[in-house]
Amino acid sequence: MPVRVVESSSSSAPSQVSGSSPGHALPPACTLLSVGQAFAGTQNVSSSQKDEAWRVNVRIQGCDLDHGYLCGTMEALNVPLADTPVVTFWEGEVVDTKNYTFFTGKWEATSEDDIRHWSKFPSFVPFLSQVEVDGGKSLDLSNCPYIFMRWKEQYFVNVGPDCGLTIAGFYYVCFSCIDGTINGFYYDPNSSPFQKLELKSTNEGRSGFSFSSYELQ
């Protein structure tokens, strides 16, 4: 895949908000984004040379909204040159303006990269002007029907790190509380830009929606 040339830019403010100011209204909790929930769809990995999409399954494994934390696994099904589906573990930062803002501040993403990616989501447009000012730190997202997140793959679950695949980048993600759909854009300065991730909440062949739960002690 062609490597995207990274534009030089001043470093953006760190995304982690230090301390928690009282009165912050967090994004709404959504049962479709709770532990055990599964999503299925595709990631478009097309480039100028080829047109390609991998089937992708995601399952939420951990959710701690107080800390703006979400995690789970992502399974890529028809990865070329891989014998089995490739499963990775990812951790998510929920843009809640308490723990994290829209500015990434790491993973080689400048605030310009952030805004360029977030702006791909129509639901982000109303927040654009404020995000340009302060990363969205002062926004109230408690009534927003969308949850914005960054998902960063941390390790390969079922293959070794030398499998020839990379998890260097991360996803800008927008989850719809309305119908459980997930849209995302993969960002890695060394990969094709704007690889689109499209997932739908899946009931795994059941006649309705089913929910498990666990509780750590």
């Binding site: 055990g36 119908d179 929910f211 666990y214």
Partner: protein, 664 residues
């Protein structure tokens, strides 16, 4: 003929005891001195003298000597004190001999040295838990205690402080001491000798613990400078003083955090405690407990402690083979607190390969250490990242933990169960590792325990084991528990156990039709019990789990959905209406999901169900919720109404065309 050293020594012991009965005062005095010198710091000697009845003989000397015999009084009191020093058997022997009132009598002796000896001995006794509780509520006792604290004699004031440390336990006692003026006296003693300072710090901690009223009084003393005295002592040159001053500040911070808002003081406290970890003896043994106490439930302080390398330092002690029991226990508990909330601490802990060392402590001889090791592992295993990587479901960890489920000590069993609850969440399809090593059988056994804490935690572990388990493992779990035990647990007298048992059933029926079938065995005893709880329970958390079970069952076949309808509509008004109107948004959301699944399009009976839900008033209640303040509820309401809309339009035709078929 040559004799062995031990027989010479044992002969001498007997000789000395006989000399204690001598008529000659000089001989008695000499014998007392020799006994005292022999037993100081020698536990074995103390025990052998106690066995030979030395304590009552010495008391006889003390009680029969008149006030003029100062030397005898001093030596006998000092010897009694030595017996009581650091050995509980000695304290018991001294108390059983009736020495207490005689030692108290010495405190009013004219000779200061006699008073000293009496006070020292009593102090030794009050350092033991076996000492009698001092009754502060008696006016004469309080006056006597104050007289001790006000004494010019250093040992007597220390005795007064020791009595407070030993016996001040309740809020009423703290308040009574405060009103009697003990606080201001203790504050003065902070400026006294090293011993007075340390005894006073101990007492201040006892008097202020969990008592905001006493803390407010203390902080107001010396025109508001009392707290400064403590923060100054935090930097004292003596390690024990630094520790005790820190403990006092921790006690104050826990109850009245407003007085110690400056994060700088807390950072300083953490630094001091970490530095004190290196101290030998009692100070080093007690420091990890103080550190654990300071950072407990305080994420900001845990982060600070992590940043100043507390975790690395604590883990470095785990590598020492010679670590004493108490220190090991404290270190494990301090690591547990550090890793209780912060993922970066857990990651660091794992990277230091410390998990094996904690696993080793699971088989320690001392129950407190085994419990602490479980608590430590519980904190570390809260990492979903590591659970997802399958780092914990390993024979090396699981086997000793499962073994602890048979521990004689209930607190160890409970601690092991809590750790197991975390470990079995595992996302890597390795739950069978736990099942195969006998863990499932043991959990099921403990779920039938008479002890409700064991029952709760074993059901909790089973619930997490069931979470996203493969069908074959679900099968094994449910056949091990049996339908009748599961039903009893759902109906347990304890609501917390009901909640966990229902959550277990909820996880069981999340997995397709074959999994759902499990709740219909034996005439449907499980689903009937679930239905009863949903209709009758008063605790929201119980109802939430129950309604999710019904929601999950509603993702199954037509007959499964019908069974749920039967449970929900058998009373009018339907329990669903109560939940949909409930102020708890979690319950409203769960109830709406149930409706979404019951009205899920495509099934032959869905239109009939929509009609019945409408006739029960459920659809009109849902219509009132289109602007529910909870966004999750609002969007689920929309889904439910969208599903019902086409059916409600042509209801009459569909109603007559469908035949109901269900389990009931």
């Amino acid at each position: 003929m040559p004799t062995s050293a031990s027989s010479t020594s044992s002969n001498r012991t007997e000789v000395l005891i006989s000399l204690l009965r001598s008529e000659s005062k000089e001989v008695k005095l000499k014998a007392l001195r020799e006994v005292k010198n022999q037993i100081i710091g020698n536990r074995t000697k103390k025990l052998s003298y106690i066995k030979l009845g030395a304590v009552p003989k010495i008391l006889e000397i003390l009680s029969s000597s008149d006030d003029s015999e100062s030397l005898i009084l001093i030596q006998s009191a000092a010897t009694i004190g030595s017996f009581a020093c650091g050995v509980d058997v000695g304290v018991k022997a001294v108390l059983d001999s009736g020495a207490f009132p005689h030692l108290i009598r010495l405190l009013s002796h004219l000779d200061d040295k006699v008073v000293d000896a009496g006070a020292r001995s009593l102090k030794m006794i009050y350092q033991s838990k076996l000492a009698p509780k001092y009754e502060f509520h008696k006016a004469e006792n309080m006056a006597f205690l104050l007289s001790l604290l006000n004494s010019e004699n250093e040992n007597v004031t220390e005795l007064g402080a020791s009595i407070i440390t030993h016996s001040c336990e309740t809020t009423a006692e703290q308040k009574a001491l405060c009103e009697a003026g003990a606080l201001s006296r203790l504050l003065i003693l902070l400026k006294g000798s090293l011993n007075q300072r340390e005894a006073s710090l101990d007492s201040l901690a006892a008097m202020t613990e969990n008592n905001s009223e006493v803390i407010a009084k203390f902080v107001g003393l010396n025109s508001g400078r009392a707290l400064n005295s403590l923060t100054e002592l935090m930097k004292d040159r003596y390690p024990r003083t630094r520790l005790l001053a820190s403990v006092c500040l921790i006690v104050i911070d826990h109850t009245s955090p407003n007085y110690l808002q400056d994060i700088g003081i807390k950072t300083k406290l953490i630094m001091i405690l970490i530095e004190l970890l290196e101290e030998p003896g009692r100070v080093g043994d007690e420091v990890p407990f103080a550190l654990a106490n300071l950072i407990a439930d305080k994420e900001d302080l845990q982060q600070i402690a992590f940043e100043v390398n507390a975790l690395d330092k604590l883990c470095s002690f785990l590598h020492q083979d010679t670590l004493l029991t108490k220190r090991l226990q404290g270190i494990l508990l301090a690591i547990a607190e550090l890793c209780s909330r912060l993922e970066n601490c857990r990651a660091r802990f794992m990277s230091m390969q410390a998990l094996n060392l904690v696993t080793n402590a699971l088989t320690h001889d001392c129950a407190e250490v085994r419990t602490a090791a479980c608590i430590c592992m519980r904190s570390v295993t809260r990492s979903v990242k590591n659970l997802s990587a399958g780092h914990y479901l390993d024979d090396m960890i699981v086997t000793p933990l499962v073994h602890l489920l048979h521990d004689q000590c209930t607190s160890v069993q409970v601690a092991a169960l809590k750790t197991i609850s975390n470990i079995v969440v595992d996302f890597t399809n390795r739950k069978s590792v736990f099942i195969q090593c006998g863990g499932l059988k043991d959990l099921v056994l403990l779920s039938k325990s008479m002890d409700s804490t064991l029952r709760l935690n074993s059901v909790w572990a089973l619930r997490n084991l069931m979470f996203l388990a493969e069908s074959s493992n679900k099968e094994r779990i449910v056949s091990e528990i049996t339908a009748s035990t599961l039903t009893s647990l759902v109906c347990d007298p304890e609501p917390f156990i009901q909640e966990q048992a229902l959550a277990l059933v909820r996880n069981l029926v999340d997995g397709g039709i074959s999994c759902i079938e499990h709740v219909f065995v034996e005439g449907g005893i499980i689903i009937n019990a679930v239905g009863r709880q949903v209709r009758n329970a008063s605790k929201s958390e119980v109802c939430i789990q129950g309604i999710y079970i019904l929601g999950n069952i509603s993702t199954g076949s037509e007959s499964h959905k019908e069974a749920v309808m039967h449970q929900l509509l058998q009373e009018a008004p339907s329990v669903l209406i109560k939940f949909l109107k409930c102020s708890d948004a979690r319950l409203r959301v769960a109830a709406i999901w149930c409706v979404v699944n019951l009205t899920y399009p495509g099934g032959p009976g869905s239109s009939v169900r929509v009609a019945r839900l409408r006739d029960s008033g459920i659809i009109s209640q849902i219509k009132c919720m289109v602007n529910d303040p909870c966004l999750d509820a609002k969007f689920r309401v929309r889904t439910a109404l969208e599903q019902c809309k086409p059916v409600l339009g042509c209801l009459g035709v569909k109603l007559s065309a469908t035949t109901e078929q269900g389990h009931f």
